[in-house]
Amino acid sequence: MVEWTDAERNAIATLWSNIDVGEIGPQALARLLVVFPWTQRYFSTFGDLSTPAAIAANPKVAQHGKTVMGGLEIAVKNMDNIKAAYAKLSVMHSEKLHVDPDNFRVLAECISVGVAAKFGPSVFTPGFQEAWQKFLAVVVSALGKQYH
């Protein structure tokens, strides 16, 4: 079980309460597809991903970004048992979607950069960054747990 300090729980709760999933999610997924273009391999049915502008305007990217970011709610609501909470999603990503689990780590980096760009240094302090990244790392680990 993961140990969270009060400061970490506070940081994560504060950030989550200020994050608009419909805003940050699409941006994070767009960053992933632009910064790491090989990730587009999983989205061949999404239509035009040929340029950063196309990706930014793509409605399927926006919808999916919102879905994925919204999935973090599971972790926020189950901080003391994130591993179990994501078991089903982990199986799905492995057996149905066949996603290389390293992509979870890379998407988490994109989410952090997006959150930093949105909130700036006075909110996304080094301490908040540490807590947020630890939180995402636990989610990333949980999502990769059921891969065999």
Partner: protein, 141 residues
């Protein structure tokens, strides 16, 4: 591979940030030390507490080197030759740590540039920092 457009974008960003090299550098280092405590082991001989003189001067040094390389990215191996030697034979910092600092540099840039740090700018910067780190570790073995 960096396109001509990307090289110009990188050069312009670092030119603008050179006057605040100390702020950017010290913050990126502080973020790295906070999120990745193992990185502090390379600085046991310095005072790297927030706001310390060592943190500021070290942060400034690193950012000025990165900004210097950005002036002519095609000459990176030539520009970084002395730093290559320093890192390979004296500092011997495990190259995995370059990724950690690069990530914290990206977060710091995102914090300061906000919306301007678009996916395109982020991609170009990530590529540049990766190239910088790769050149830095070239003499390791």
């Amino acid at each position: 591979m960096l396109s001509k457009k990307e090289k110009k974008l990188i050069k312009d960003i670092w030119e603008r940030l050179t006057p605040v090299a100390e702020d950017i550098g010290s913050e990126a280092l502080l973020r790295m030390f906070t999120s990745y405590p193992g990185t502090k082991t390379y600085f046991s001989h310095l005072d790297i507490s927030p706001g310390s003189a060592h943190l500021n001067s070290h942060g400034k040094k690193i950012v000025l080197a990165i900004a210097g390389g950005a002036k002519d990215i095609s000459q990176l191996t030539v520009t970084l030759a002395p730093l290559q030697t320093l890192h390979a034979y004296q500092l011997r910092i495990d190259p995995t740590n370059f990724k950690l600092l690069s990530h914290c540099m990206l977060v710091t840039l995102a914090c300061y540039l906000g919306e301007e740090f678009t996916p395109v700018a982020h991609a170009a910067m990530d590529k540049y920092l990766s190239a910088f780190a790769a050149v830095l570790s070239e003499k390791y073995r």
